[in-house]
Amino acid sequence: MTTVLVADDDLDIRELVAFKLAQAGYEVRSAPDGVAALDAARAGGVDLVVLDLMMPGLSGLDVCAELRREPATAELPVIMLTARAQDQDVATGFAAGADDYVVKPFSPRELVSRVQAVLGRARA
């Protein structure tokens, strides 16, 4: 089963994303901050990360850049899920290595579509 790691310091968002992805047939793991997200991704068995940009400790950008630096996680698809919607924020997210960018408030249905699309591209 495809496993998605959801990292967000907002419990509601974690639960909403996890609920929707589980409905769509994915196995979901959750992390409440950047450090836990990095640990979970390094532990392996994760096929895609949905990453909040602003988290305590290690930001989503830091986590993404760190994942790209490490050979074991360099190819791991990352979708940024964030309230920061300015052009510059989106550009910064992609520059850090994100594969896609979803703005909050988000459409759960659209998020699932993007997860499917990013996974499809990663496997192609």
């Binding site: 929707k20 408030p105 988000f106 459409s107 759960p108 659209e110």
Partner: protein
């Protein structure tokens, strides 16, 4: 009674009062903790229903919403805070279902009533809720709240209007809401003092998006500079290319430099080549320095090759900020601009020293920072190879002579 006895009695009384107060505080806390635990116990089993509503897909979501709408009063009281917490975090069908649920429970009607409450906190809380709900039918009331006597209430109303007037808003007045929200937001900037912080108003106008364009275009002709300036900024960020002609006019003729600066920046964002002529005209020395710099930066963003000569001439401008912006703009132009910079950089004594130094600096920094596009690198290499070839031919000729 002796003074000592009086003091002792007083101390005992104070001790008893302190003890009673401590016990009262402990009891109140214990009651609150028990009440919260009871509410959690009731709400926890309802959590999956709430998540089902919030993800909002299919008959399951509709059924879950109906189940929550049918809860008894204690059940609803326990789950309502969680519903409000999730509201504003999702859009689409989930948002619509949550708003319908809140409407069915009377929460939306209560919030609309509270917009005129005596308490400023209640007015602000109600506006916040209606904004998070993206509730289009409340746009007129939220617009009226921009004239509230309390600045915090006005700020919350300005933020809420962005969500309630956005294309994804819910409710029966969805079609009219964006224009009404945009008009109210822009009107809040008119007058001696803006009713809400201009950056908050601008962000809300951006949320309203393209449907705000007609009101924004009208606002470019407003008598208040702050309204024109904000409209120019938002139109640029929205990419409303139909605003280009009006923005060009502002760049060249507005009496307020700040408006001209924002209009020039907006033209850069729009990237319309037809704006090149107006932007070039705004770079003449008679124009205010800030306007010239903004116009030069925008020439780089527009990227029309017809601005090469103008930017080249500005590389040794007496205003260092303009000259730096010209060098950066040439870099932004891509291959033709980089070729020109590389040629100026390699001209040595045959070009103005300031231009040579500036061109050399910007090319070197771009290469070192690895921000030079491949086409630009190729141009730099070609120019350097040409310079080397000419120098070699010169040396050979000298030796031969």
């Amino acid at each position: 009674m002796s003074p000592l006895a009086l003091v002792t009695a007083g101390l005992v009384l104070v001790s008893v009062l302190v003890l009673a107060l401590a016990v009262a505080i402990a009891v109140v806390r214990a009651v609150r903790v028990r009440r919260a635990a009871r509410a959690r116990a009731v709400a926890e089993p309802l959590r999956p229903l709430l998540l089902e509503v919030a993800v909002g897909e299919g008959p399951e979501a509709e059924d879950a919403a109906a189940a929550l709408a049918a809860l008894d009063a204690p059940g609803w009281r326990s789950v309502e805070p969680a519903v409000l917490a999730v509201l504003g975090k999702v859009r689409g069908d989930g948002q619509r279902l949550l708003v319908e649920l809140l409407a069915a429970r009377g929460v939306v009607a209560g919030a609309r009533r509270d917009l005129t409450a005596r308490s400023a906190v209640r007015r602000a809380t109600a506006a916040e809720l209606l904004g998070a709900a993206g509730y289009a039918p409340a746009v007129a009331e939220l617009g009226a709240l921009l004239r509230d006597g309390d600045p915090e209430v006005r700020l919350v109303a300005a933020r809420a209007l962005g969500r309630a007037g956005a294309p994804g808003a819910v409710g029966s007045d969805v079609e009219e809401a964006p224009r009404a929200a945009a008009t109210a937001l822009l009107a809040s900037l008119a007058g001696d003092r803006p009713a809400a912080p201009p950056d908050v108003v601008a962000r809300s106008l951006l949320l309203v998006g393209t449907p705000a364009a007609p009101a924004l275009l009208d606002a470019l002709a407003a008598p208040e500079p702050l309204v024109r300036l904000t409209a120019a900024e938002v139109l640029g960020r929205l990419g409303t290319t139909t605003a280009a002609a009006a923005l060009e006019d502002l760049v060249l003729r507005d009496p307020v430099d700040a408006v001209r600066v924002r209009s020039a920046a907006a033209l850069g964002r729009l990237g319309v080549p037809s704006a090149t002529s107006a932007l070039r005209a705004a770079t003449t020395p008679a124009t205010a320095s800030a306007v010239r710099r903004a116009a030069v930066r925008s020439l780089g963003e527009v990227g029309d090759p017809s601005s090469l000569r103008c930017l080249w001439g500005l590389l040794d401008d007496a205003d260092g900020g303009v000259a730096d912006a010209a060098a950066a703009a040439l870099l932004a132009l891509g291959a033709p601009g980089v070729r020109l910079l590389a040629q100026v950089s390699s001209q040595g004594a045959s070009a103005p020293a300031a231009a040579v130094a500036r061109a050399h600096e910007v090319v070197t920094c771009a290469v070192a920072a690895e921000v030079m596009p491949p086409a630009g690198l190729a141009e730099v290499e070609a120019v350097l190879a040409d310079v080397l070839a000419r120098a070699t031919r010169g040396s050979v000729a000298e030796v031969a002579a």
